[in-house]
């Protein structure tokens, strides 16, 4: 499976980013470049999991407000800044689910559905597609999170680990198990 290049961070990019972070720590006004760089990514991550577009923009703003007010706490320990933002986004999303009664939503593309059916060695028929969508709706939150990150957003195991604050290997194992559970539900 190909990894989405949007989420990939080279070492050089991370180092360059550290300069921007240091500047933002000194002066909040200089957080601007980081905001412009990551706004779309974070919005897509949020909107991917929400039905309401306006609420998604609100949550995204809230993510950056939290990030800027806590930027003095950010220390580079091998985890890129984007992963730190995703963690905040994850936390803000759950808060929105609780406080604003936002509906947990999963956005999938047809292509991803068919890829998954192929992974299960089944026919890519319309009925199977319907069945898989129904199965996805039954998945538990933790499993769904992994399936989304890995199979719908095509993130690397390393990045999944960084966002979920688990090791790369654990992310790999848990993603596999989540897929196995979906397969089990699908085949039964």
């Amino acid at each position: 499976m190909n990894v989405n290049p949007i989420y990939h961070q080279s070492k050089q990019t991370i180092v360059d980013e550290l300069t921007l972070i240091t500047n933002a720590k000194r002066d909040p006004e200089r957080f601007g470049p980081l905001y412009e760089k990551y706004h779309a990514q974070i919005f897509r991550y949020v909107y991917q999991r929400m039905d309401d577009q306006e609420l998604a923009f609100d949550v995204t703003s809230q993510v950056f407000i939290k990030a800027l007010s806590n930027i003095h706490k950010y220390e580079y320990r091998g985890v890129p800044f984007s992963s730190w933002l995703y963690r905040i986004a994850k936390s803000e999303l759950y808060q929105a689910y609780r406080d604003r009664k936002a509906r947990k939503t999963v956005n999938v593309e047809n292509m991803h559905i068919f890829e998954m059916i192929e992974e299960f060695d089944e026919d890519s028929s319309v009925s199977n597609k319907k069945k898989l969508i129904e199965c996805l709706a039954l998945m538990k939150e933790k499993d769904m999170q992994l399936l989304e990150l890995r199979y719908f957003e095509k993130r690397s195991y390393r990045e999944i680990g960084e966002i979920l604050e688990i090791s790369e290997n654990t992310a790999k194992v848990r993603s596999f198990r989540a897929l196995e559970r979906l397969k089990k539900i699908f085949l039964n």
């Binding site: 909040p28 006004e29 957080f31 601007g32 905001y35 412009e36 706004h39 779309a40 919005f43 897509r44 909107y47 039905d51 577009q53 923009f57 703003s61 809230q62 950056f64 407000i65 939290k66 800027l68 007010s69 509906r103 947990k104 939503t105 999963v106 956005n107 999938v108 593309e109 047809n110 559905i113 969508i133 996805l136 709706a137 039954l138 998945m139 538990k140 939150e141 769904m144």
Partner: protein, 243 residues
């Protein structure tokens, strides 16, 4: 039970549209609003809070006493003057004593400790703004003096030969002195002799008069019997006899 709403192929938002919704100014505004007010920060409750507490306590204590600060200071000064008088009596124990006598002294002092403590308690009360009349203080001083042995009401230091050899001898309030040791210079060396009664014998008196003019003599191991026939050890005496 369905845990999620599944949307398939939702129309994606364009990059331009998402960018158009960027509002960094709103983020900065949000950060400012997120900051707690000054009175909710640790900085406020640190120095400012402590200063307020200190001021409140001092203000309430002044109010409770009903005395302005300046008057209070004056009262304290007066108290110190009053305190100095009874302490003079305690100087008896500060006079240098021969090393061999020190341990005995410690034991002997215990007998007078009670009375000394009482005097100090009276002083403490004066500190709490109770000013005793001077005659009452003198009475306390007299009570304290009664606890110490003396010759002709002299407790230490210079004494004339006539006072030293007076008929009253060593006295100590209502206690009866039964024996004592006296250390003096006999023209060759320091000698120490045990004496029964409360008077310095004639032979020793002659030696002292002859060889100890301006030389300190030590009267130690003073034993006495109180009203209850209880044997007591009293503090030592040191005199410099002169003509």
């Amino acid at each position: 039970m369905k845990n999620h709403k599944i949307l398939v192929d939702r129309k994606p938002l364009s990059e331009t549209y998402i960018q158009s919704r960027q509002d960094f100014g709103n983020v900065l505004k949000g950060v400012k609003q997120l900051k707690p007010p000054l009175w909710k920060t640790a900085w406020f409750y640190g120095p400012v809070g402590m200063a307020t507490v200190a001021l409140t306590i001092s203000a309430s204590s002044i109010h409770a006493n009903g005395i302005p600060i300046e008057q209070k200071a004056e009262t304290n000064q007066l108290t110190i003057v009053e305190k100095e008088q009874p302490i003079e009596v305690l100087n008896v124990s500060e006079v240098p004593i021969p090393k061999a006598e020190e341990d005995l002294m410690k034991t002997e002092l215990k007998a007078t400790e009670v009375e000394i403590t009482e005097t100090i308690a009276v002083e403490d009360e004066t500190e709490n703004d109770i000013i005793y009349p001077k005659d009452q203080i003198i009475e306390e001083k007299t009570t304290l003096k009664k606890a110490f042995p003396n010759i002709h009401n002299i407790y230490t230091g210079d004494i004339t030969f006539s006072e030293l050899f007076s008929e009253d001898g060593i006295t100590c309030g209502t206690k009866t002195i039964t024996s004592f040791s006296i250390q003096y210079f006999n023209g060759k060396e320091d000698v120490k002799e045990q004496v029964e009664g409360n008077q310095i014998p004639g032979e020793i008196s002659k030696m002292i008069e002859r060889f100890n003019n301006g030389v300190m003599i030590y009267i130690t191991e003073i034993k006495a019997i109180d009203e209850n026939k209880k044997l007591l050890s009293l503090p030592s005496l040191n005199y410099i006899p002169r003509y």
